[in-house]
């Protein structure tokens, strides 16, 4: 028995979410009284996982430079059998959700995504996860020999606990990819909706794309990703990549700031998993206030620039 973590990398560095997923894997291993191991691909800083309780990392140094779900799933499967891994922990990133079902099929494993906490029972393994687009939770039993848990973003948090971490650099044989990359476009240096701690989101209340500097300036101060409601992307004010909600990207961040967004059920469904929600809207009756933790009833064109300035000052002195 062992717990095996898939630690994601980008540009040869562990991704931010690796810390949270490692913390989860270490805590799970502790409750099972077993080892917490990790597999990473091309991670120059693999030993950093020791900060989060991982005692051994198999670092695959001859992996394709880009994430390739099928190749990675094959490689991981070898480590699952070599280490007798019984519990596999992955994140809820787009790549992890690409990889995990393939991994489950190859290993005849049980898989549940969107877990919000450590298993509340180990026998049978029972995990609480979100369901019905965040309108409920469901407790699911996993009863295969190999069980894969996908941890919801920002649901467990990071827990520092230093252990000695052994990194073994490996060059296993890879299967051939069954897909060829034609092209990739990726914004570099910008916080993404999936990774950011804070997301600043704008709706139709901003009146037009020319006003988006309000959103961007606020996001800059907070090192946040920017997002928008569906009509905003439908009208082409912002790119579709920013559309969040039930039919867009899911948001489960620590802080979600909604500006000029009414809070329609399809919008809320996709963002409700965020920990703290702040709403700025000039209509006190906007439904979003019912789902918010903090709110300001006011005109975005006045409130947002003032908030940005005050936050700048706050950041400068803290």
């Amino acid at each position: 028995m062992s717990v095996l973590l898939f630690a994601e990398t980008e540009n040869n560095t562990l991704k931010r979410n690796a810390a949270e997923v490692a913390s989860y894997a270490a805590a799970l291993a502790k409750s099972l009284n077993t080892n917490s191991l990790a597999v990473a691909f091309n991670a120059d800083n693999a030993q950093d996982l020791g900060q989060y309780g991982i005692s051994k990392v198999y670092n695959i140094i001859n992996a394709p430079e880009q994430f390739d779900a099928n190749v990675y799933a094959h490689a991981l499967s070898q480590y699952i059998s070599n280490t007798n891994a019984t519990h596999i922990v992955v994140s809820s990133s787009a790549d992890a959700k690409f990889l995990a079902p393939l991994l489950a099929a190859k290993n005849n494993a049980a898989y549940v995504p969107n877990a919000v906490a450590l298993p509340n029972k180990l026998e049978p393994l029972t995990v609480k996860r979100t369901a019905y687009t965040n309108k409920a939770f469901v407790h699911t039993e996993l009863d295969a020999e190999i069980n894969i848990i996908g941890v919801g973003n920002n649901s467990f948090g990071t827990v520092e606990q230093f252990v000695d971490c052994v990194v073994e650099n490996d060059s296993p044989e890879h299967t051939a990819s069954n897909l060829d990359q034609v092209s990739m476009s990726k914004e570099t240096g910008k916080a993404t909706i999936a990774d950011a701690d804070v997301v600043v989101s704008g709706g139709r209340g901003l009146k037009g794309p020319e006003n988006w500097h309000l959103i961007e300036d606020l996001a800059d101060v907070l090192n946040a990703a920017t997002a928008c409601s569906k009509p905003v992307s439908d009208m082409g004010w912002r790119s579709h990549d920013e559309h969040v909600g039930q039919t867009g990207k899911p948001v489960s961040t620590n802080l979600y700031i909604a500006i000029g967004i009414s809070g329609a059920i399809q919008h809320l469904a996709g963002v409700n998993a965020s920990k703290v929600k702040v709403v700025i809207n000039n209509d006190p009756e906007a439904p979003f206030f019912k789902a918010a933790d903090y709110g300001i009833v006011g005109d975005a064109f006045e409130v947002v620039p003032a908030l940005t300035e005050k936050l700048k000052a706050f950041k400068a002195q803290s």
Partner: protein, 248 residues
């Protein structure tokens, strides 16, 4: 070209979510079921393949007769034939195994599923299906072109897009972007009449076993009232976010 569109049948998002039998079962009473929105984009994309490239379009659902009206709707929208594999959908793995057996028996060039079902948001079935069949898989698919036996598809990833190329057969997990909302087909009278004549087969399951089981539901704790801060006292908001919520 034979195209299979996998249809999941889900409560409309505006439905009230409630549970019965000591919170062990979803209360279907009064719930309006719809074709999973992600699958609707996929079905429309498939029908374009039929119109422009002469494909044959089948739809399949694993589940009970409750979904029959949804499958009829797919026929009215333009699918050629519907199949229902008659077994309750217990988990993504079992559904994927049923679909894999079906695909193997019928041979399809392209399998279009959705990014995720909006009931459990699992994003499990399409990837597991591709894994079981050992064929290429492209999730979060926002663009698809088929040329001969080659598929070029674009996937949305965190912070960008990746365009991938693979040889058919292939599985995709489609979403908005595959077609736009304004492209979605609404069944017309003629379509509805024609659907009555189209083949609809109910087939026996493999009885694939499930590896997971949902045992208990829970609703989120009721939310405390929002704390409103006056628009002219932004310092108070910053203080609350810093000291009380601990998020900045």
């Amino acid at each position: 070209m034979n195209v299979l569109v996998c249809i999941s049948h889900v409560p409309d998002t505006t439905s009230k979510i409630n549970f019965v039998e000591n919170n062990t079962k979803f209360n279907t009473g009064g719930v309006q079921y719809i074709i999973n929105p992600n699958d609707e984009f996929g079905l429309t994309r498939a029908i374009w393949l039929k119109e422009k490239q002469g494909a044959q379009i089948h739809v399949v659902h694993v589940g009970s007769a409750m979904a029959d009206p949804t499958l009829r709707k797919c026929l009215a929208i333009g699918a050629d034939k519907a199949f229902r594999i008659d077994t309750p959908a217990i988990d993504g793995g079992a559904v994927a195994k049923e679909l894999a057996a079906f695909v193997t028996a019928n041979s399809y060039d392209l399998i279009i599923a959705g990014r995720e079902s909006i009931d459990y948001n699992g994003s499990m079935v399409p990837g597991m299906l591709a894994g079981l069949l050992d064929i290429p898989f492209i999730p979060n698919c926002v663009g698809l072109e088929i040329n001969g036996n080659e598929a070029v598809a674009e996937r949305e990833m965190d912070g960008g897009r990746e365009k991938l190329k693979g040889t058919l057969p292939i599985v995709i997990g489609g979403q908005k972007g595959l077609v736009e909302e304004s492209d979605l087909k609404i069944p017309n009278m003629r379509g509805i009449m024609q659907a009555r004549q189209k083949p609809f087969e109910v087939i026996a399951p493999q009885q694939a076993s499930a590896a997971t089981q949902d045992v208990l539901y829970e609703k989120p704790a009721p939310k405390a009232d929002v704390k409103l801060v006056p628009a002219d006292d932004i310092d108070q908001l910053i203080e609350l976010l810093h000291k009380e919520a601990n998020v900045i």
